[in-house]
């Protein structure tokens, strides 16, 4: 049984439950909506933009390293491969995980959640909620790449000898992370339970 079925609506900000139909939360003033009708549309729209930004983020160079004699342009994957070649497998693994595995995982997870709310069967609702929580939590850590680029660019500005400037990929990567985070936030986790078959053993976590 869900709150909606019980004729209640919970404030998503402060958690107080109100009777269904109440427009605003009497305690914190937030707008009360039992189910966000446009949630899925927002999820998909932002998901698409995030994915669109992800391609140039991997094709264009992330870092422009100007050394004494040469200009080195490295993409995310190219940089990781270079690091691996130099024996820094750990760092290469971190970069690969933070920049490739996690974003791709997020895309997959959000898409899975958005699709699975319409389906009755599939993953257990608990697991799906857990997945959503993880995605929400881990999404911000994808920005670690952007932080590294920003810090390097700020620190390594030795005129003539070596300079590091962010490449166009950094911009796209940041956009991609932002849009996937927004996409994840746009997902209304309460919908997970709506798709649940009407059995009473289900938890009333909603």
């Amino acid at each position: 049984m869900t709150a909606r079925e019980a004729g209640l609506v919970a404030c998503t900000r402060c958690g107080r439950a109100w009777p269904l139909g109440t427009a605003d939360c009497g305690r914190c003033g937030a707008r009360l909506v039992s189910r966000d009708k446009n949630s899925l549309q927002r999820v998909w729209a932002l998901w698409i933009v995030g994915l669109m930004c992800y391609f140039p983020a991997n094709m264009y160079p992330m870092l422009l390293t100007r050394q004494l004699f040469s200009v080195d342009e490295s993409t995310i994957i190219g940089g990781a491969v270079d690091l691996a070649h130099h024996g820094a497998y750990g760092i290469a693994a971190i970069i690969l995980v933070a920049s490739v595995v996690i974003p791709l995982g997020k895309f997959w997870a959000i898409a899975f959640l958005a699709v699975s709310v319409r389906q009755e069967r599939g993953f257990a609702s608990h697991r799906r909620l857990l997945m959503y929580e993880v995605v929400e939590y881990i999404g911000r850590w994808s920005m670690i790449d952007i932080f590294v680029v920003a810090i390097l660019s700020a620190l390594v500005q030795l005129k003539g000898l070596a300079t590091i400037t962010p490449g166009p990929a950094a911009f796209f990567f940041a956009l991609s992370v932002i849009f996937t985070m927004l996409s994840a936030q746009a997902f209304d986790p309460r919908m997970i339970w709506d798709a649940q078959p009407n059995d009473n053993e289900a938890s009333d976590n909603g």
């Binding site: 009708k37 446009n38 549309q41 927002r42 729209a45 932002l46 698409i48 933009v49 669109m52 930004c53 004494l68 004699f69 040469s70 200009v71 849009f179 746009a186």
Partner: protein, 694 residues
């Protein structure tokens, strides 16, 4: 609860596709628009790709190496690869769109890399930044091209520079250095490009640039010379070392001066010679004629030593130029074998060819081309028998294989050759020397010594010592003869003879000797005609004489000498014979008799008789004076006769020898006529002279 409201007709409104759509979809749409916009813009902003072919890559890398124009990036290398057959490196360069139209067919590309030369260090920035490709093109849009041939060296004229573009050619001893500066009063006013050896190997040639602001320093009478290296001289003022600057000492350089005023401003494309030093440059201005010499290359098959730079070049024995340079040449393609041939460059002075009208190298060339078509060929000939030196001779070979003096392209025209004369001359000289060697000179000398000995013997002969005495007796005998009675009677006899002469003259007077003389002259005219007809035979006679002469010429020299020797020995025998020894005796006898005769003559009274005779002769002369009035007519006839004879002889004026002899004859005859005329006048004036002989 039973009264449920009546069921209401529910019409399901067909939802529009967009009605349920959230405004959030604008974001991906915007993203798409931006993405497409960026893609389109970057595509539209792309310039064309050009391909530049270099011989080597020299540090070019795709995506990094830039193309620069006036040190500003105008393109980037996209791809580096090899052309067909790995012969060239092809560099694909993506041009910036805005400058792409200017990169036309006349563009030049070269790789800028650090370079350390005697003139300094260039391209230092590329040490850090890596090489880049520099392009040069003008600011006008020309024929489009997409494939270029990269140049190995930077062009002399960089973009943005302008000036007088001239060319330099090295002289026989001069040299040219790549990229040497052109200095004037210590200031660099231009630069020399990359020197190249001309295809024939005769000289080096390079382009040169005089910067725009200095172009008025150069005129057609400007002379350039080499200032590279240094000169060292020891003179009365001490040792002197001279070089213009450290840069030119190491890297070479040329400078110039205009020694004389006048001369036209130099034009682009003019060729100047670089002399070895200032003196030569200055002298060249005065020694050479105004026009440039014509340079002709001759390739001799034979490699004969003896030809040197400066050797004369002769046309019909007249010196028309000098040998400017010598070099060996091996060209399998041209000659079909790999033999080394002698390549000689002749410097021909057009002024010496006696050209009518325009005296220029081109005119001289066309003249030579004409003559070559008619068989003029160059050959090596001996210039001096003693030193074995050679000269280049141009001779007309009557039935030479057809050849042309072609002057196509930048190369010098090549003169066809014929077999050289050197070996023949040497053989002839050797033969002469051998024959002289073989002459029996020693025998001749021996015979001569013998002759001398015999002569001495003869002189010391006792009989010969007596000759003076004999001579004196001979003279006394002669005086005896003169004083003899017979001799005394001679005047009397003479007198009688003169009397008879007188009578004869009187008789002559009667017979109007003038007419007779006229007849005689007619006969003489006939005779002259006969002479002229006989003159016809003279040419044959001359031919005969010539054959005789040639026979005489062909007579064996040594035989002649032998005959001479035998003659000498006969003479020797004669001199040493007893008859010769007695000759003085006989001579003295003869002299004695002569003496006697003279003595007798002295005693005769012939003189008086002579006087009488002369008086009679005077009378006779008077008579002749009367008759000599007719003489002018006679002379006229004679003149006519000689005119006729002259004409006849002119008709025979065929051969030189004949005409010369006939002329001589005619001259003699005319002299005779003149003498005759003079005689006639003299007789007219003084008839006595006919008889008195004065």
């Amino acid at each position: 609860m039973a009264n449920t409201p009546p069921p209401v007709e529910i019409t399901t409104v067909r939802k529009s596709v967009l009605s349920g759509a959230s405004f959030i979809w604008i974001i991906p749409l915007l993203a798409l628009v931006v993405a497409f916009g960026v893609a389109w813009q970057s595509y539209a902003a792309r310039g064309p790709v050009i391909i530049v072919k270099f011989t080597d890559g020299a540090g070019i890398s795709a995506g990094e190496t830039k193309l620069k124009y006036r040190d500003i990036e105008v393109g980037e290398v996209e791809e580096v690869g090899f052309g067909e057959g790995l012969e060239q490196v092809e560099v694909h360069i993506r041009l910036h769109k805005d400058i792409a139209p200017y990169v036309d067919a006349s563009s030049v590309f070269w790789i800028v890399q650090p370079e350390v030369t005697a003139q300094g260090v260039s391209g230092l920035s590329t040490v850090l930044s890596g090489v880049y490709i520099e392009g040069s093109w003008d600011s006008e849009i020309g024929f489009a091209a997409s494939t270029f041939k990269g140049s190995d060296v930077a062009p002399l004229i960089q973009p943005g520079e302008s000036g007088l573009q001239i060319a330099f050619r090295s002289t026989a001893n001069g040299s040219l250095t790549d990229n040497a500066p052109i200095m004037f009063r210590g200031i660099q006013v231009g630069q020399v490009g990359r020197a190249q050896i001309s295809r024939s190997g005769a000289y080096a040639i390079t382009e040169g640039l005089i910067y725009e602001e200095h172009r008025n320093l150069i005129s057609s009478s400007t002379r350039f010379w080499d200032t590279s290296g240094f000169s060292f001289s020891v003179g009365p003022s001490g040792a002197e070392i001279d070089f213009s600057s450290l840069a030119t000492l190491v890297g070479g350089g040329i400078t110039f001066d205009t020694f004389v005023s006048g001369g036209d401003p130099a034009k682009d494309g003019e060729i100047f010679e670089v002399f070895e030093d200032k003196e030569t440059a200055r002298n060249s201005l005065f020694t050479s004629s105004e026009v440039d010499p014509l340079r002709v290359s001759v390739i001799f098959d034979e490699n004969i030593s003896g030809l040197a730079v400066g050797a004369p070049v002769e046309l019909s024995g007249f010196r028309i130029g000098t040998v400017e340079s010598l070099s060996g040449i091996v060209d399998f393609n041209q000659f079909g074998d790999s033999r080394v041939r002698l390549n000689v460059v002749l410097s021909i002075q057009p002024a010496r060819l006696g050209l009518p009208g325009d005296v220029s190298a081109a005119a001289a060339l066309s003249l030579l081309q004409d003559r070559v078509a008619n068989g003029l060929r160059a050959r090596l000939a001996s210039a001096s028998l003693l030193t074995g030196g050679l000269k280049v001779e141009m001779v007309e070979v009557p039935d030479a294989a057809p050849a042309r003096l072609s002057a196509t392209g930048v190369d010098m025209p090549v003169m066809p050759t014929t077999k050289s004369e050197t070996s023949d001359a040497a053989a002839t000289v050797e033969g002469v020397f051998t024959r002289i060697n073989n002459l029996p000179i020693e025998e001749l000398l021996n015979s001569a010594i013998n002759v001398m000995n015999s002569a001495e013997l003869l002189m010391s002969n006792d009989d010969l010592q007596k000759v003076p005495a004999d001579v004196s007796t001979l003279l006394s005998d002669l005086s005896g003869i003169v004083t003899s009675d017979d001799v005394k009677n001679i005047p009397i006899a003479l007198n009688a003879t003169l009397t008879r002469v007188e009578g004869l003259v009187a008789e002559l007077e009667k017979q109007r000797i003038a007419e007779t003389l006229g007849k005689t002259l007619t006969a003489a005219a006939d005779a002259a005609e006969a002479v002229t007809s006989s003159v016809e035979g003279v040419p044959e006679l001359i031919t005969d004489i010539q054959t005789v002469a040639s026979k005489a010429a062909s007579l064996e020299f040594d035989v002649l000498i032998q005959e001479l020797t035998s003659l000498t020995s006969s003479a020797e025998a004669l001199v040493s014979s007893p008859e010769t020894a007695q000759l003085p005796v006989a001579l003295s006898g003869a002299l004695d008799q002569l003496n006697a005769t003279l003595r007798e003559l002295r005693e005769g009274g012939a003189v008086e008789n002579v006087n009488q005779t002369l008086a009679s002769a005077r009378n006779a002369a008077d008579s002749i004076a009367v008759s000599s009035r007719d003489l002018p007519q006679v002379i006229n006839r004679l003149n006519a006769l000689f005119v006729q004879a002259g004409r006849t002889i002119e008709g025979y004026n065929r051969g030189d020898e004949l005409s010369r002899s006939v002329e001589a004859t005619l001259r003699d005859i005319q002299q005779a006529a003149g003498a005759l005329e003079k005689l006639a006048r003299t007789i007219e004036r003084n008839p006595n002279s006919l008889l008195l002989g004065r």
